[in-house]
């Protein structure tokens, strides 16, 4: 396998460059996926039937906490990739570990949110609005859950195999995924929660 020494490890082989580009294109598809969910959300947001409206169930504090947690996790994984490029494996693992912990906390708050909604009479089946609300948040949340397991698997491989062209490539792609989830959350935060409470 040809390794180009002038590039960071994650870009160093032809296959690595293909993987990264392929993943970017996948993220393009994810934009369309979440775009469709947002389109459905905006269409259904006022169709609450006999159930509660957005303004009645949203609370600002949990949402702010979730946003800050996810923003910081996006920062720490960025630092993780930076440490990886410096070849500092231990620092990188610490940053990746913190990212996953932050992601887990985010998830805990989101589950708390869901429980609150259900207690206030907004279940998945209540109305068109609650169905798309849970689906939009749930799709993002499911991505986070998948990311947690994926991240663990990558940390395991880095501990076991060190920083190789393969492991760094996987770690870099994972970081792209995680940042992307942060971008999606920003849009949920702005156009679902803040707009709903405006």
């Amino acid at each position: 396998m040809k390794i180009d020494q002038t590039l960071p490890l994650e870009y160093s082989t032809e296959q690595n460059r293909l993987n990264i580009l392929g993943f970017w294109i996948f993220l393009g598809a994810e934009i369309a996926l979440f775009g469709t969910l947002f389109a459905s959300y905006f269409t259904l947001v006022n169709r609450t039937g006999s159930g509660p409206t957005a303004a009645e169930i949203f609370e600002i504090m949990p949402v702010i906490i979730e946003t800050v947690l996810l923003l910081i996790s996006s920062f720490t994984i960025g630092l993780g990739i930076h440490a990886m490029r410096l070849g500092r494996k231990r620092a990188m693992l610490i940053f990746f570990g913190s990212t996953l912990l932050l992601g887990l906390s985010f998830l805990a708050v989101e589950i708390y949110d869901f429980i609150v909604y259900i207690h206030e009479g907004a279940t998945l089946q209540t109305s068109g609005f609650t169905a798309i609300l849970f689906t939009l948040l749930g799709t993002h949340g499911a991505h986070i859950i998948f990311g947690l397991f994926w991240g663990l698997l990558i940390m395991y491989q880095i501990i076991k195999n060190g920083l190789t062209p393969e492991t760094t490539n996987k770690a870099f792609i994972f970081s792209l995924y995680w940042h992307f989830l942060d971008v999606i959350w920003i849009f949920i935060f702005s156009f679902v929660f803040l707009k709903g409470m405006m």
């Binding site: 396998m1 460059r17 293909l18 993987n19 580009l21 392929g22 294109i25 996948f26 393009g28 598809a29 994810e30 369309a32 996926l33 775009g35 469709t36 969910l37 389109a39 459905s40 269409t43 259904l44 169709r47 609450t48 039937g49 006999s50 159930g51 998945l124 089946q125 209540t126 109305s127 068109g128 609005f129 169905a131 798309i132 689906t135 397991f149 698997l153 491989q157 996987k170």
Partner: protein, 647 residues
């Protein structure tokens, strides 16, 4: 309902029981045959686990042909039922199931598979690459498509076929009106094969953008490669919309949500909206590769460079963007206001412009060409006038106010069949005939091929032209019968006769494959058509690694200029070649998805959870697996090249 009752077919008939027996016998015959001839090892290690794009292409091809006959059988049954007034051949429910499965099978499992087949086979060869960017993902795409198709096709013997139309509009497709599991099958089968298509899209964009032979700039790519690139972009951005719509439909049916219901704030129109946000780009996903194939065939058999290369590329890019801006024309009559309909009327007419440009480019390429009337060329020449008729009736339908008259009539059915059949089916048969010698090492018989062409071309016109008239007279689509006083009888009878002509044509194609397999000479050169692009620079049969030496490209007609102008293609010495290893994982993951989908259809949740875990387990296994592929040493390569290479 009793647990096992759900697996029974809701409206059984003799034909369904006969099919069950036929399916059982076929499965037994395949298993017994493979065991008797001791071919399990061969099939498993050479085909089922292959990551070679050429073999995956051939597997897509076989699947597409089988699906063509499944969908064709549905079509014949529909034409037979409506051939005479008040016919009792089929009941209303059976007719509903048949037109639904006809549409889904033909669009999703036949046409899509056919373009995947030809893209898989030809694209890496045309850009001078040894495989696609992600060979294993490519195999996974195929198996997801395959198991999605299987899941859809078992519906009619286990639990009942979907029966709410290929567009599956809610609330008809909701649990109130579609009580059998048929629509669940629709949702899950399309979800699984759609995932496969999305992965193909990502794979081919990466392949085309990153793995072209040195010197092949974007504007030197063969036109089929350009069309595939644009198509795959549309795939990547359109299929996620379908994914979401299907997920929401599944939740409505299985979890009691209110996305598309008519109560508690649900909005049934949202389904139609999302379906066509995907559905219209899907039309262009089917047609653009066909345009690419026609471009290749026209320049090959007119012996001229393609006229207006740049404008061809610009038109396709324009179409790819415009295709996302027209979807509302599928439901002009749904109740949105005049402003909305006007906007989408205009965008729809605008999209006819780049398509028209392409037609003129082909005509200008033909002008002063030395046209050779081979079978692929006949289909291409037949395509231009028939497609134009289909196209201009599309512009008629684009006028929102007039569409109130045409909507949901046979006029519409005539329009889209006259676009899709010459557009896609002709192109697929043409492409199949054109690339057949590269795939299998012998030519298809031209004489039988020409007979098949005339039956199909005339059959299409005879089948669908009468529908324009009966449609304008008011015959609605999807009606299983009509009374004699309507006067539709004569038109439908003509249609039926045309459909029989089509049937004869397709049987001739199968006969041609059989005949040519037996009698066609095997000593053909690598370039039997005297063609122009790089796939013909390989020896036949094409070795696993495609090119012993990666070619250098200096013009848009690389192989032609190599033959005629003395450009050098192969300049580097032979080196050992790195190739990916075969893997059983893609088919295993595909099978996991099949179990997942089946359990989901019937709401057997423990199995759903287990199969989900199994699929993720396979992904984790893949991540931890150490597999760096293998090298083919120089000595092996040179032995291969002593065959029929043109070098």
């Amino acid at each position: 309902m009793n647990f096992f009752d759900r697996f029974a077919v809701p409206n059984p008939s003799i034909t369904i029981y006969a099919s069950m027996i036929a399916i059982a016998l076929t499965v037994i015959a395949i298993i017994a045959g493979l065991t008797y001839f001791k071919k399990w090892q061969y099939v498993w290690s050479e085909w089922l686990t292959t990551v070679d794009h050429k073999r995956i292409g051939i597997m897509y091809l076989i699947s597409a042909l089988i699906m063509l006959f499944r969908g064709g059988a549905d079509a014949i049954m529909m034409r037979a039922q409506t051939a005479v007034p008040d016919n009792t051949l089929l009941g209303a429910k059976e007719y509903n199931e048949i037109f639904t499965t006809h549409g889904v099978v033909m669009i999703i499992f036949m046409a899509m598979a056919f373009i995947m087949a030809l893209m898989n086979f030809a694209i890496p060869l045309q850009i001078g690459a040894r495989d696609v960017a992600f060979p294993r993902l490519n195999a996974l795409s195929y198996w997801l498509y395959f198991f999605g198709a299987m899941l859809f096709n078992i519906s009619f013997v286990i639990g009942g076929s979907p029966d709410s139309g290929w567009s599956s509009y809610f609330p008809l497709a909701g649990t109130d009106f579609s009580q059998s599991v048929g629509t669940n099958y629709y949702m899950l089968a399309l979800q699984i094969s759609g995932l496969g298509t999305l992965l193909t899209g990502i794979n081919f964009i990466t392949t085309i953008l990153k793995m072209r032979a040195p010197g092949m700039t974007l504007m030197k790519m063969p036109m089929f490669v350009w069309s595939a690139l644009v198509t795959n972009f549309i795939i990547v951005f359109a299929f996620p919309v379908l994914t979401v719509a299907l997920a929401m439909g599944t939740m409505d049916r299985l979890f009691g949500t209110n996305f598309f219901t008519t109560e508690n704030g649900g909005m049934d129109m949202l389904w139609a909206n999302l379906f066509w946000v995907w559905g219209h780009p899907e039309v262009y996903i089917l047609i653009l590769p066909a345009f690419g194939i026609y471009s290749e065939i026209i320049s090959t058999f007119a012996r001229r460079n393609l006229y207006g290369y740049k404008s061809m590329v610009i038109s396709m890019v324009a179409i790819s963007l415009l295709s996302f801006l027209v979807w509302v024309h599928h439901f002009f009559t749904m109740g949105q206001g005049a402003l909305v309909n006007s906007i989408f009327s205009v965008t729809t007419m605008v999209i006819a412009v780049p398509t028209g440009i392409k037609i003129f480019n082909w005509l200008f390429t033909l002008r002063k060409g030395k046209i050779e009337f081979t079978v692929p060329m006949l289909y291409t020449l037949g395509f231009i006038p028939i497609f134009t008729i289909g196209g201009v009736t599309g512009v008629m339908l684009a006028m929102a106010s007039a569409d109130y008259q045409y909507h949901n009539t046979m006029f519409l059915v005539a329009h889209f069949h006259l676009v899709i059949i010459p557009g896609v089916v002709f192109a697929m048969i043409a492409g199949l005939t054109y690339w057949w010698p590269k795939m299998f090492g012998f030519m298809l018989n031209e004489r039988i091929g020409k007979w098949a062409f005339w039956f199909i071309a005339i059959g299409v016109c005879v089948t669908f032209f009468p529908m324009f008239i009966s449609g304008l007279n008011g015959q609605a689509r999807r009606m299983y019968t009509y009374s004699e006083s309507t006067g539709f009888g004569i038109w439908n009878m003509i249609s039926f006769v045309g459909a029989l002509g089509l049937l004869v044509g397709f049987i001739l194609i199968v006969y041609n494959i059989y005949y040519s397999t037996r009698y066609s000479p095997r000593n053909i050169p690598g370039d039997p058509w005297d063609a122009r692009s790089l796939e013909w620079a390989t020896p036949t049969p094409v070795p696993e690694y495609n090119f012993a030496v990666i070619p250098h490209v200096d013009s848009s007609e690389a192989f032609w200029d190599y033959k005629k102008k003395g450009y050098q293609l192969f300049r580097d010495p032979v080196q050992s070649i790195h190739m990916p290893n075969n893997s059983g994982l893609p088919i295993i993951i595909g099978a996991g998805f099949f179990v997942w989908g089946f359990a989901f259809v019937f709401g057997i949740w423990p199995v759903v959870i287990l199969s989900t875990l199994f699929i993720f387990g396979c992904l984790a296994y893949r991540s931890l697996e150490k597999d760096h592929g293998h090298y083919i040493p120089v000595s092996d390569i040179e032995i291969d090249e002593q065959g029929g290479s043109v070098q």
